[in-house]
Point group: C2
C-alpha cells in the first residue's frame, strides 16, 4: 500500500514498520501499521497504513510534563478515512487533511480500500495516550 | 513533479503553490517551489519541489522570541538532493532523510532530475531566516 502511494522506504524502515493491535487481538479490525520517520523532542512525522475497514480506537493525547498534549495533522494520501471527533465525523479523501487539537478525543477508520495517511505532529509519547476502551494498552 | 511522486494536492493547494526566487531574479538557478500543508504554532509540514540543479541558498533559522530556532527534517521523495552543512555534504536519495538542528547554516541543491522533498519541522517563520548572501530577502 505504501508503494502504491508512491512512498519510498529504506530497507531499514521496511524492517521497522510498527504493527499494533492495541492489545485487542483483532488486528484486521482494530490496529495500525506505522512508519516513524522522525520523533524528536519537538516534531514527529509518520506514515500510517490502515487495512480496509481497520479502526484506530478512540483516544486522546493529554498534557505531559507541563506541555500541551500532542497536536496532530492527518493528511490522507490514498484511500478514504472517516475521522470522528466526538459526535462529528469528517470524511477525508486523498489530499484532504485535518488538524486535531491537543487532548481531543478522536478515532478513525479506513474505507473499503484501506488508507495511507501522513501524520505531522509534535513529539509522540504513545505510552501517555488515553484510550476510551479500558482494555487497551498502548506500549 | 509532485504528481510523478504520487502526491495528491487539492485544487486550492495547487493554486497556492509558493514560488520564491529569494529576490535574486534567477529562479531556475536559485529558488524553491513550496506547498505548505500546515504551519501552526508548534508544527509545520511542507513539500518542496526543486528544478534540476536548482539551489536553496545558505541560511539558518535563528532563535525567535525566546524559542530555539526552527528544527527541520528533510526527507527526499524523488530525485537526489545535495545537502550542505558547513563543510559537510550529505547526498540524499529517495527514502533518505536528515534532521537539521536549529540555527545551523545549510544549503541544498537538486541533482539533474530535480527533486521532491518533504519537510517536517517546528513552526516556519520565513521572515526571520538569516541568509549568508546579503542580497537575499525572504518575504
Amino acid at each position: 500500500m505504501l508503494a502504491d502511494a508512491g512512498i519510498v522506504l529504506t530497507p531499514a524502515e521496511r524492517e521497522a514498520i510498527e504493527v499494533t493491535d492495541f492489545g485487542l487481538g483483532d488486528l484486521e479490525q482494530y490496529g495500525l501499521q506505522i512508519v516513524v520517520y522522525v520523533n524528536t523532542e519537538r516534531v514527529c512525522a509518520k506514515e500510517l497504513v490502515l487495512f480496509p475497514g481497520q479502526t484506530c480506537p478512540e483516544h486522546r493525547h493529554p498534557p505531559v510534563e507541563g506541555e500541551p498534549g500532542k497536536e496532530e495533522t492527518f493528511r490522507v494520501r490514498r484511500g478514504v478515512v472517516h475521522l470522528h471527533l466526538g459526535e462529528e465525523e469528517i470524511v477525508l479523501r486523498p489530499g484532504d487533511q485535518h488538524t486535531i487539537p491537543p487532548d481531543t478525543l478522536h478515532w478513525f477508520q479506513a474505507g473499503d480500500e484501506g488508507a495511507v495517511v501522513s501524520e505531522f505532529s509534535t513529539r509522540s509519547r504513545d505510552e501517555t495516550d488515553v484510550f476510551t476502551d479500558p482494555r487497551i494498552r498502548r506500549v
